[in-house]
Amino acid sequence: MITFEHVSKVYPDGTHAVHDLTFDAPNGRLTVLVGPSGCGKTTSMRMINRLIDPTEGVVSLDGQDTRSVDAIDLRRKIGYVIQSAGLFPHRTVVDNVAALPRLLGAGKKEARSRALELLAKVGLDERYARRYPYQLSGGQQQRVGVARALATDPPFLLMDEPFSAVDPVVRTQLQDSFLQLQRDIGKTIVMVTHDIDEALKLGDQVAVFREGGTLAQVATPAELLAHPADAFVADFVGASRGYRALGFVEATATVELADEVTVRVGARPADVVGDAWCVVVDDADAPLGWVDLRAARDVVEERQIDFSGTVARADGSLRDLLDAALSSPTGRGLVAGPGGRLRGSVTADEVLRHIAREREAGVAS
């Protein structure tokens, strides 16, 4: 656990970068520090590995005051990932990852084979291992940066805007694959970002900073959306809070799904009861989209499929269910079970009724 106790940082010119900061970053969890620029979030993170020393207060790792250990030894226990990756330009990808183990005395062969394992873990193909950093894209460099930070298997990881320097598509890929990785490795992570959506997506816990280096609120993403501590946090977290909060509520079995008539591409549709829409499924019974049988007199052709509706997973969030319903041409959102097989459909009304039921149950208990 990383603990901040009444930590302040005042620069010689009198600027208060951080003011009386107290919070914990629990073990095995990802804590995100988020806030507007100049709020002291990066300064706070850098006090953990003593790139910056606090003026007052104590930062401790698993109960040990960071000032009681040698700064170099401390840093070697804490992986570090920065925005632009900061790779060593004169080393190949594999040697970038192997650099610190080599410095600490590991054999070349051993360090490299471990580096290759890590590169595979962060999703970088082995053929990139012998390349130099300038031959990689920004997203690939960032993956190498993560692998390098994990090279000595440190219990702690600090990440300074790790996914900010890449385009939105790559950013989403990096975030998703990092979440996957973290589920696997369970490091104690402190990450800095200015992007509240990234904070809510990645964080187990989010610490919102305000200007002047004070902490506005520390909470889980769902809590932050549902109960912002004050107007600043509400404003910073932003619009559509109610809708976004549904993203953190798991759909339970009490949401009622309706059965749908299905048809395969190339097949003749059975007689349909109700309206003229019918779900098209593939050979594995995974939903592809809808077809309007008024247009498909004979057999269903691929070009007749309406792909506009999103498909929610049965174990997804209420937000996914609601989105599936809202985006569907029929108003009935498609829900797929594990393996992608169609489970049934849900309407926006049913999702809202479910929310109302849950709220009443919450009030009653």
């Binding site: 170099i72 840093r75 632009s84 900061g86 790779l87 060593f88 330009p89 300038y134």
Partner: protein, 216 residues
């Protein structure tokens, strides 16, 4: 006649060329070893940078002949001792290299240095494993200037009677012969080019990681 003279003196010309190369290269290497810590200090301190770089640059303005004459008194060496030449040229090499290396170290990307620090590199480990290797292109450029400059300045040592290609100039002058002077000049040029190419090739070999566009 030209061929005859060269043939007759081939052994001695070879010897002079070898001495010339040694007297040029050793001070360059020593200069590099002394300049690196000075430059590192300068690159790390905004306060000392102008002082170190300015003072070392100033050394280059001391006339070589004065240095050759002064050094025996300072070092307690004999006037004919080649050590005087080595020391003098080392001073010039330091003068040329400190600024180049300091600027080279300062140009290492900030992110790279920060990453190394945060990973737990000690300052000297960071210098050795990260900053110096990344600054090799800049340092190589400085070394090329220093070694070529040394090839030229070594000839002055002929005035003190220390054997190297400059000796051919003084001989030609006292015997009123043009040929030794021309041979001396040509060999100096050849030596400069060879050393320059060697340093350049060494730099290239150490920097396979550079983008082709940058090395072209």
């Amino acid at each position: 006649m030209i061929v005859d003279w060269i043939a007759d003196n081939a052994a001695r010309i070879g010897e002079l060329t070898a001495w010339h190369a040694v007297l040029s290269v050793i001070p360059t290497v020593l200069g590099l070893l002394i300049a690196i810590p000075l430059a590192w200090w300068a690159s790390r301190s905004a306060r000392f940078y102008p002082l170190i770089v300015g003072a070392s640059g100033l050394l280059y303005t001391v006339p070589s002949i004065a240095l050759f004459v002064l050094l025996p008194q300072l070092l307690g060496t004999k006037i004919l001792d080649p050590l005087n030449v080595v020391v003098a040229l080392t001073v010039y090499s330091v003068a040329l290299l400190v600024r180049v290396i300091a600027d080279g170290l300062a140009s290492v990307p900030h992110d790279t240095v920060q990453a190394a620090t945060a990973m737990g590199y000690r300052p000297w480990q960071r210098l050795l494993h990260v900053e110096l290797p990344v600054a090799v292109p800049a340092i190589g450029g400085g070394l090329r200037v220093a070694v070529v400059s040394n090839v030229s300045i070594v000839t002055m040592a002929a005035l003190l009677g220390i054997p190297q290609l400059g000796s051919l100039f003084t001989e030609g002058f006292s015997l009123r012969l043009t040929l030794p002077i021309v041979v001396g000049i040509v060999l100096c040029l050849v030596l400069s080019v060879v050393l320059d190419v060697l340093v350049h090739a060494g730099t290239r070999a150490l920097t396979p990681w550079q983008q082709k566009a940058e090395t072209a």
